[in-house]
Symmetry: C2
Subunit: 330 residues, 2 copies
C-alpha cells in the first residue's frame, strides 16, 4: 500500500467489502455491531481518512460555505466581519462544513466568483455580507437557485422575506444602553448618530427614541447630534455641541468610533458624561468605554441553521439581540 489508505485497504484488513466500510462511515445503523467494531478498528489502525474530493465527486456535495472576504476596512469596527468569520469557521467545523474564502472587488466580481465556485462544486452555499436594498447579488442568487444567507437585513425592501437573513437587533442594543442610563436616574440622554438616512444607523436611533418614549420622556431635538463614522469628525461635532451648551447627562453613540470621538472631545473640554458605543471593539475595551456587543457567535449559529436547513419551516429571518457591556471609564 503506497500513499494514503483507501476504503479497499480498510476492507481488506477488516475482512469485509468496500461497501461495508462505506456504510460504517455513512450509515452505521445498517451494519451489524460486531462488523462495525471490526471495521472501526481497521480504520483506526490504518489511520484511514476518506478522500474528500472523491466523496464530493460522488455525492455532488461540497459541504463548503463560500464567504467573501470584504475589502479591507480600515475603520475601528472593521473587525466585526472578522469576528463573524471566526465564529463561522469554528461552528461550521462542528457541523461538518468548511469555510472557503474568496476575495472580490465589487458586486459583479463577487457574483462571478460565486458562479465559478458554485459551478465547479467548490462551494455549495454562500454567505453574503453588507447587503443593500435591490442588491444585484441577491437577485442573482435567487434567480440561479444558489443557497445563501445574508448577514444583514435588506433595508428598505417592501418584502423582507424574499431571502434568508440574520441581523443584529441594533434597536434593542441602543434601547438597552438608554435604559441603563435611565435606570441610574439620568434623564437627559443624548444620541450621537450617523447622518440619515442609514438603515443601520436609523434603526439604532429608533432604539433610543423608543426607550425614552417608553418612560414617557419627550424627545428633545437638542439631545441629538450627527456625525459620519469617523473619530476626528465626531470629536469636532461633540466639541461644538458642548460649546453651544448641550445639556446632556449621558450619551448613546451608534458606533465606537463616535463614542471614542465623543470621549476625546469631553476629555479636552474637561467635562465628562458617561458614554456608550456600539460594536464593542478592542478600542472600547482598551479605553474602558461601555459598548453594545454584537454576538457574532449567535449570528454565525443562526446563519448555519438557515444555511443547512434550506427548506426549514418557520421564519427564515433571524434577529439577534446584542448585549450591553458596561465598563468603568479609565
Amino acid at each position: 500500500m503506497t500513499g494514503m489508505p483507501t476504503v479497499l485497504d480498510v476492507a481488506r484488513v477488516a475482512g469485509v467489502s468496500r461497501q461495508t466500510v462505506s456504510n460504517v462511515i455513512n450509515a452505521p445503523e445498517l451494519v451489524r455491531e460486531e462488523t462495525r467494531q471490526r471495521v472501526k478498528t481497521a480504520i483506526a489502525a490504518l489511520g484511514y481518512q476518506p478522500h474528500a474530493s472523491a466523496r464530493r465527486l460522488r455525492t455532488r456535495q461540497s459541504s463548503t460555505i463560500g464567504v467573501r472576504l470584504d475589502q479591507a476596512r480600515d475603520g475601528i469596527s472593521g473587525n466585526l466581519l472578522d469576528r463573524f468569520l471566526h465564529a463561522m469557521t469554528l461552528q461550521a467545523d462542528a457541523r461538518g462544513r468548511r469555510v472557503l474564502l474568496f476575495a472580490a472587488s465589487d458586486a459583479h466580481d463577487e457574483v462571478e466568483h460565486i458562479r465559478r465556485l458554485s459551478d465547479g462544486a467548490d462551494a455549495d452555499t454562500f454567505v453574503l455580507t453588507s447587503t443593500e436594498h435591490g442588491d444585484a447579488r441577491v437577485a442573482w442568487m435567487l434567480e440561479n437557485h444558489v443557497p445563501f444567507v445574508t448577514f444583514g437585513r435588506p433595508w428598505g425592501a417592501e418584502d423582507m422575506t424574499t431571502h434568508a437573513w440574520v441581523d443584529v437587533d441594533g434597536r434593542a442594543g441602543t434601547a438597552a444602553a438608554t435604559d441603563h442610563f435611565l435606570d441610574q436616574g439620568l434623564q437627559r440622554i443624548g444620541l450621537l448618530g450617523w447622518p440619515q438616512p442609514s438603515g443601520t444607523g436609523d434603526d439604532r436611533r429608533r432604539g433610543w427614541e423608543e426607550a425614552l418614549a417608553a418612560r414617557g420622556i419627550a424627545l428633545d431635538p437638542a439631545l441629538t447630534a450627527e456625525s459620519p463614522d469617523d473619530v476626528g469628525t465626531a470629536e469636532s461635532v461633540v466639541a461644538e455641541w458642548w460649546r453651544s451648551g448641550a445639556d446632556v447627562e449621558a450619551l448613546v453613540c451608534v458606533s465606537d468610533s463616535l463614542a471614542l470621538g465623543a470621549s476625546m472631545a469631553m476629555q479636552r473640554a474637561g467635562r465628562s458624561v458617561p458614554v456608550v458605543g456600539f460594536d464593542n471593539t478592542p478600542v472600547a475595551r482598551a479605553l474602558g468605554i461601555s459598548s453594545v456587543e454584537q454576538r457574532t457567535d449567535l449570528v454565525a449559529a443562526s446563519v448555519l441553521d438557515l444555511l443547512l436547513a434550506p427548506g426549514a419551516a418557520g421564519s427564515r429571518q433571524r434577529l439577534i439581540t446584542p448585549e450591553l457591556v458596561v465598563r468603568e471609564p479609565r
Copy 2:
C-alpha cells in the same frame, strides 16, 4: 444535458474528443490554434466550468492552502492576522489557489486538523502563524512532509533555516522610527518595550538601540521602560515614569497598545512628546498616532512564493521591511 456541462458536452459541441478539451484548458500549447478557438467558443457557449473535485481527485492536488484561524484575539493588534488573511485570499486567488479556514483550540488540535485536511486532500499546503521555538506543529509538519510556511520566525532556534518562514523586520521598523526622530534633531529618544525576553519585542528594541548607536549616542537606561501589551498598564507605567522625572523628547513604542497608553498618560499629565507605535492599527489611524506598518500584502506574496515553489533555490526565509507611517497628532 441535465445539470452542469462536462468536458464531454464541450467536446461534442466543438466536435473534438474529451481529451482535447482537457488539453485546451490545461496545456493549450499542445492544441492547434484553430481547434483551440473552436473549443474555447464551445466552453463559453455552454458556460462550462471544470468540476473542482473531479479534477482534484484525478490530479491528487487540492490547490488549497489551509490556514488556521487563531483564537479570537481581543487586543488592539488582533487584526494583524485578519489583514494577512485578506491579503492571502486576494493573492492566492490570483495564483489559482484557494484559502480554506479551520479553527483549532491548541497546537495539538491544530495538528489533528492539518492531518485530516491533508490526508483527505482538502488542503495540500499550510500556513502556520504564531510559531515559537521548538514548536510541536513545525516538528510534525517536517516529519510528515506536509508543505508549509510560517508567518513568524522560529525565535531562539540555533538553526533558523530548518523550515520556510516569512517575517516582518521589526528591528528595521523601530530603527526607522528612531531615525525619524533623530532626523528632527531630537536626541533623548525613549523606548517603551515589552518585558524581556520576548522574541518580537527584543527584536524591535534592538532596532532602537542600533539606530542610536549608529549616530554615536550612548544608551541611557533611564530612556527605557517596560509594560505588558495592555493600554491600561502602559498608561500607569508611563505616568509613573513621567512623575519620576523621565527626561525624554520622543518615544518609540513596540506596539500601538503601548503607544496609546503612553499618549493617554501624557495627555493627562499635560506634557506631550511625539510617539510612534507599531502595527498601524485602526486606533492609531483614528487618533493620529504615528506607527510602523507591517506590510501584510508583501508578507502574503512571500508566503505564496515559498509555498508554491517548494524546492525553490535560494533562501527559504524572507524578512519584510515595514514602513513608518507618520501622522500629526490630533
